[in-house]
Point group: C2
Amino acid sequence: MNIHDLAKHLNISIGTVSRALNGRSDVSAETRKRVLDAARKLGYSPNQSGRSLRRGSTGMVGFMVIANRSRAVRGEAFFMTVFDGVQSVLAKHNLDLVIYYCGDEQSPETYVQRIVERGLVDGLIVSQTTRVDHRIDYLLQQNLPFIAFGRSQSGGDHSWIDLDFEGVAEESIDLLYRLGHRRIAVATTAGDVNYGFIYAEACRAALKRRGLELDDDLIIREAISEAGGYRVGERLLAMKQRPTGVVSVENSLAIGLYSKLKEAGVEPGRDIAVVGFDETPTFGLFLQPSLTRFRLALVDLGRWLGEHMAELIEAKRSGKAAPVAHKIWPLEMVPGASTIPLLSAAGGGETVALRPETKPARRVRRASETAGS
Amino acid sequence: MNIHDLAKHLNISIGTVSRALNGRSDVSAETRKRVLDAARKLGYSPNQSGRSLRRGSTGMVGFMVIANRSRAVRGEAFFMTVFDGVQSVLAKHNLDLVIYYCGDEQSPETYVQRIVERGLVDGLIVSQTTRVDHRIDYLLQQNLPFIAFGRSQSGGDHSWIDLDFEGVAEESIDLLYRLGHRRIAVATTAGDVNYGFIYAEACRAALKRRGLELDDDLIIREAISEAGGYRVGERLLAMKQRPTGVVSVENSLAIGLYSKLKEAGVEPGRDIAVVGFDETPTFGLFLQPSLTRFRLALVDLGRWLGEHMAELIEAKRSGKAAPVAHKIWPLEMVPGASTIPLLSAAGGGETVALRPETKPARRVRRASETAGS
DNA sequence: CGGAATTTCGTAAACGTTTACGAGATCAAA
DNA sequence: TTTGATCTCGTAAACGTTTACGAAATTCCG
């Protein structure tokens, strides 16, 4: 069933059929109706290969995820939620979302190269960026709209979106500091994915603003998973001078951490303060004691990606310059019972309510300001 | 950069270039090397649209997931793990996996129809089958290799794979029965997705084999999510005659259930027995007390899908009959501390070790056989 | 050395669309 | 009726491949 068959069936030319299906103006209303009706009845849709070949565009947007570059795709529902947002927006622009899943056997760089060279997509979203990301270097040389989900140090101006790791780090450290904690560990990701470094450095900066140094021993890098969080717990418990609080870049870390701590009789929220990250997996919401964490509108983030991608593609189609955008996506703290005031600390901390105001002040407090309890 | 450019650059014809790139025999070794080198150097890969159009096949396999048909795609890492297995196998057969994410605005039926009519894929995997699934009815009329991930009642012979819900139900009920439980609730999914019914009916049958009736009130249908599990807990606790054990078709249900039970001071594994399902999300592994659950080799399941799809496509290409396959995928029980002998039960149960053997006997025991403790 | 067999390559058609172009039909205005 | 203008449609080229076919070059063998 192709356009010739349909045209023959209607006794008109293929040109007219095509124009009718594509909503062109130079076809009579009556003919258009006949064509559309027949197409539906006979189950005809234009062949995508033929259309793409002629048009020079496929109408597809790629989203590349990498299996084993933490955040470990397999272990989480994170990306599925993002897809939801992207897909819903792209559909409105007559674009399809296809997900390219880069397994272990493939190199992400050659995978991207193949996708581009073969003309598979009109636009590409790459996620899980590394500090130096050759995919981005490559894409910058091509004439294909793309967005990076995650920052990288690669030069060149291109669109990207990333979570507000700095904001989360600042609020996390601020909360613990105000609760009196002075020895704080940072659980972050191993591997060279970029956000692990961003988060750790942001924590270091937040501590520094409060007159504290972040000892390198207190940066605990583990794979992003519950098992990784468990190992974080092991390493924490093995420390000679145990930290009184932990902040972590991922909830699955917090989940495994809880598990190890409880096993050792160290109760989160009573014996040690724990700050998580976003609310995916949703499971994190069901930890006990409830985890202090950050709300993240992940579907909306996906929508932003879809909107901006549609813009980029439209700009290219009409020959305009690409509207480059950079976006830091905010998260909102949700206080839980896992962060408690440190009563036993020498010198004590500032007295604060166990449940801080929902929007904690971002004002930086210096150690000299704090009053004893 | 297309095949003409490359041919011109090498001073040979496009036919030869194409043959060289496609590994045909009628091209000299020297010429082939020149072509391959130049292609790599100049960054040329054959345009997919042109190739698909000429070949009549796209080299792509579609995997369709539906956003909000439980198991809720967004809430879980389940499918990502399957993708991993599928992708790794398909890659060996020079096939690409593309994931079609069917959002809320789209009807799954018309989405499938569009994918088929436009010739987007050489094969299609559809998941989250309903009892009557019109996608399958439609696909049976088309000439496209497809596999259903999940059974349905739609007639017609086609390949499918599904989890062994019957086996899990039998083992779950058997365990609780042998521990002395006689009033057992079944937590399963709401909506018309097929496996929710399969599981509930299998539990009913397993109970019947032991001389017990499954009261309809004890079948608790809720959305597959932690929140759904929480509501399961609410409904359990509201019952006049509270069940002593619960089996559930999904771990996220168990997670939410734990949360509600603990909130009410009802300790899983002490006051009520809980049996979970598979180990996704991995988080379920970190529940306390540890959850009795079933190990599921989900990556291998994905590999099976990939292998069989490659077979189907190869068979069609060579004009052979499609090798239809039906597969029930096994799960293996992992006993945890959430299933305990019911000491307080009138009449008591069979005395069994708290940790049953790793492979509990499937032999059906009748009530008359059981000995008092 | 002649002819057949084999190797290597160029030519051109075909895959299913979209769209520029132009032609015929219709219509309004003079 | 004539002349444009407008509406509607058919024709044919083009998109980038793959591959059947045949031709030229080479090798083989008697």
